[in-house]
C-alpha cells in the first residue's frame, strides 16, 4: 500500500475511476500585458473531492503559474472565498459533486484582482477597520460576569471569518464606495452589545452606524450577504438590529 503525499487530499488515490471534471479558471497576470481569459483544466475526480482539492491538484501537477489563497482548508480562516459557478463560496467547503461536472472559478467581484483568483482585500479590510472592530475594555473590568442571554446576542456575529464574500455580493457596497458593508456593520453590532466594553464608547459606535453615507441606512435589504455567508451569520439581520439600536438611541437622546 502506498501513501501519496498531500495530493488532492493526503493519502488519497487520485481519480482511480478515471473520471474527470473540467475546471474553468479565470486567469489574469498583470505582468503579461494580456487581459483576463478563461483556462480549462481536466482534473481527475474522486468522490468527496472539494473545489480546493482540484485547484491544488492543478497547482502541484499541471500548472505552477496558478495563484490562489488558501490556508486552513476547513472554512475557518476565510482565505479561499471566490466566485464558483457564479456564486460567492469558499473553495475549501464546496464539494465538486455539488456544483457540477464543469466548475468555473473567478476571483471575488468588486475587489481589484492581483492575479488569477487572488484579489486585493485591502479595500474590504479598510471598511472593517473603520467600524472599530475591537473591544475597548472598561477600566473596572475585574470579576466579569456576562449573562448567557447577552452572550447569545453577539455569539453569531463573532463567528465572522472576514472572508469578504458578503462584501463582494452586496449591491449597496458596489454602488456606494463609502458604505461600510455587511461584515463591518456586523462587527459594529457585535461590539455595541458587549457589556465588557467601556460604556462611554457606545455612542461613538452608534454614530458610525448612523452615518448617512457609510452606515446602516445605506443597506437596501437585498440580503445577498445573508445568502452567501458561509458562517450563516445573516449580516442583513444584524444590520436591521443595529438600525433599531440607532433609532432607540436617537429617541432617548443618547446620540
Amino acid at each position: 500500500m502506498r501513501v501519496e503525499g498531500e495530493g488532492g487530499g493526503a493519502g488519497v488515490p487520485a481519480g482511480g475511476s478515471g473520471e474527470t471534471v473540467v475546471f474553468r479558471v479565470r486567469r489574469y497576470d498583470p505582468e503579461s500585458g494580456v487581459g483576463p481569459y478563461y483556462q480549462e483544466y481536466e482534473v481527475p475526480y474522486r468522490p468527496g473531492m472539494t473545489v480546493l482539492d482540484g485547484l491544488l491538484h492543478i497547482l502541484r501537477e499541471v500548472d505552477q503559474t496558478l495563484s490562489l489563497r488558501y490556508s486552513c482548508r476547513q472554512k475557518i480562516c476565510g482565505s479561499c472565498a471566490m466566485l464558483i459557478n457564479g456564486r460567492e463560496r469558499l473553495a475549501c467547503e464546496t464539494q465538486v459533486a455539488e456544483v457540477g461536472r464543469t466548475v468555473t472559478m473567478e476571483p471575488l467581484p468588486h475587489l481589484p484582482v492581483i492575479k488569477d483568483l487572488v484579489v486585493d482585500v485591502e479595500p474590504f479590510l479598510d471598511k472593517m477597520k473603520a467600524s472599530m472592530p475591537y473591544l475597548i475594555p472598561r477600566s473596572d473590568s475585574e470579576n466579569i460576569r456576562v449573562p448567557p442571554e447577552e452572550f447569545e446576542r453577539y455569539r453569531v456575529a463573532s463567528d465572522c471569518i472576514w472572508c469578504a464574500a458578503c462584501y463582494s455580493a452586496c449591491p449597496a457596497a458596489y454602488s456606494n464606495p463609502y458604505y461600510l458593508g455587511p461584515a463591518a456593520l456586523g462587527q459594529l453590532f457585535r461590539f455595541e452589545v458587549d457589556s465588557r466594553e467601556d460604556p462611554s464608547v457606545k455612542p461613538l459606535r452608534l454614530v458610525i452606524a448612523d452615518d448617512d453615507c457609510a452606515g446602516v441606512w445605506r443597506c437596501h435589504q437585498a440580503h445577498a450577504c445573508s445568502e452567501v455567508c458561509p458562517k450563516h451569520i445573516n449580516p442583513g439581520e444584524l444590520i436591521a438590529e443595529l438600525k433599531r439600536e440607532v433609532l432607540r438611541a436617537r429617541i432617548s437622546g443618547r446620540i
Binding site: G5, G11, Q64, D116, P148, S158
Partner: protein, 566 residues
Amino acid sequence: MERHGVLVVGGGLAGLRAAVEAKLSGADVAVLSLVYPMRSHSVAAQGGINAALGNADPTDSWERHAFDTIKGADYLADQDAVEEYARDAIERVLELDRWGVPFSRTEDGRIAQRPFGGAAFPRTCYAADHTGHAVMHTLYQQSLRLGITFYDERVALKLVKEGERVVGVVAMNLRTGELESYAARAVVMATGGAGRIYARTTNSHHSTGFGMALAYWAGAPLEDMEFIQFHPTTLYGTNILISEAARGEGGVLLNNRGERFMARYAPEKMELAPRDIVARSIYREVLEGRGFEGEYVHLDITGLGEDRIMERLPQIWELALKFAGVDARYEPIPVQPGHHYTMGGIDTDKHGRTEVPGLYAAGECACVSVHGANRLGGNSLLECVVFGKRAGESASSDAASASDPPSGPFEEAEREVEAWIGRLVERGGEERAENPYHLRAEMQRVMWEKVGIFRDEEGLSAAVAELKSIRKRYWEGAGVRSGGKTFNVALYDALATGGMIDVALAVASGALARRESRGAHYRTDYPRRDDENWLKHTLARFTPDGPVLEYRPVVITRWPPRERKY
C-alpha cells in the same frame, strides 16, 4: 529597509500576543506574516484553552494543572517552566475575557469550563467549538486597537546575523515578488507547527515548520523534535480533525470486516481509550489489511439516530458532508490517524529567549518545554498566550538597551536569498528539473510511513537516508515552473520545502537516536520508557550533513517521574 525595535515573524496567536505585549511595554513593534493574521492556523483550534479558574469545580488549582501537564508529558516537561505556566494561565485567560473573547458562559455569567482528555478537573475554557477562532480574532482586534504595524503576506526567508546576533530578516513580498529587508533589535519567531512534513495532518497548509528551519539555520538548536502527536480520527481525504466528541457520544470504530476492533486493543475503554492507543489500534488494523483502500477505517455514528446526531454532533455531521461528501446520518465516516501537534521546536527558556542573541520564539514553533513528550488538549493555545507574552516582554526589554543594526549584513543576505530563488526559477525551465511538490510529497510519505505512529531502528535509519537523498535532490535539482513575480504560490511553496526537509531530518534523527518509548514517541523495538538513560531533552544542531544531537537533563522540581497510567 524597514527598521523596528521588535519584529515578530508570524501573525498567529503566539505572534500577536507577543506583539501586543511589546507594544504595551512601549516598544516599536511590527508583525510580519505569510498570511493575514486571521488566516493563521490558530483559528482552527476548536476545543478550548486551559486555566485553573475553578469555575466548574472550585477545588481545582494551578498545581493540579501543572501536575496534569507534567504527567501528560510523560515527565519530559521542565517542571519549573510548567509551574510558572500553570500559574500565569489564570491571569492570561482573564485578560482575554477583558479584551473581548466571546467565551461560553456558566449560568451566573462566568467563563464556562469543560472536561478535556488528561485533566483531572473541568478546566478547559471555550468559545463554543471554535475557541481558536475566537481568541485569535480578539488578539487581532486588540492589535488593531493598539495600532501595531503589520506587514502582511510577506514570507521570511532568512534570519540576518551580524556576528553572533540576529538583527533582522530578509522576506519576500508575495504581492510584488520583491525581497525586502527588515532590521530589528529583537526578532521573535512565532511561525507555528510543522504538520505539513507529514502526508497526513490536521494542520493548515501553512503549518510547514519553515520558521523552525530559519532559526535552525541561524544557529538555534531544535529541541525534542521526535515528539509528534498523532490524532486517531482525521477525515479521510483532507485530514480535517474529527473530534473525540463523535466517540464520546457513542460512535464506534469498524474495520473492513465490520468488526469493532477496539475490543482487541482496549476491551474495557473501547473507543474511549487514550488518543495514542486508539491511533495505534486503527493503524495496526490498516497495516494488517483490515482497513479500506486508502488506509482508513469507519467511524460509525449512524447508531445514534438522526435526531441525536443533529442535536449533539451537528458540526461533525457538517464536516463529513462538506469535506468528504458523506452523510453521517446514513453512512459511516471514513477516518484515519494523522499528525496533529508538533511538541518540539526552537529551544527557548521560560522567557522566550533562544541561545542566539537577538532571537526569541514562542508558540508551536518553540519548545520551552511544557508539553514534553505529549501535549494535553487545551494546553497549546495557552502556551501561545503565556509564552507569547513572555517573549514579547523579553524582546522589548532587551531591545531597549540594544543598538540599531547596520545595513551591511542585509545586502549580503539578500544576495544569498536571490541566488536561492534564482536557481529554483532557472532550473524550472529545464525539462529534467525535479518538481518541488513531488519532493515534498516524497518527504511526507517517508515521514508518515517510517517516522510515524510505529517506529523502529530499521525504518528510522532508512528514513534518515531517504531524507538526505531528497535533500540533495532539492538543493541540486529542484526547479519551479513559474517565473512570475506576482503572487507566485509555487515559488513560495518550493522555498518552504527546502526548510521542511531539514526539519523532517531533525525529527527522524532524534527518533532514531531515542531508544525508548515515551509519550507520543513509540518504538516497537524499545516499547518501554527508560528514565535511566532517556529522561533528557534532545537538542539538534544544524549542519549541512545532517543534525548533530546533544542532550540536556529535564528539570524536575516536585513531581518525581512515575508510571503514566490513566
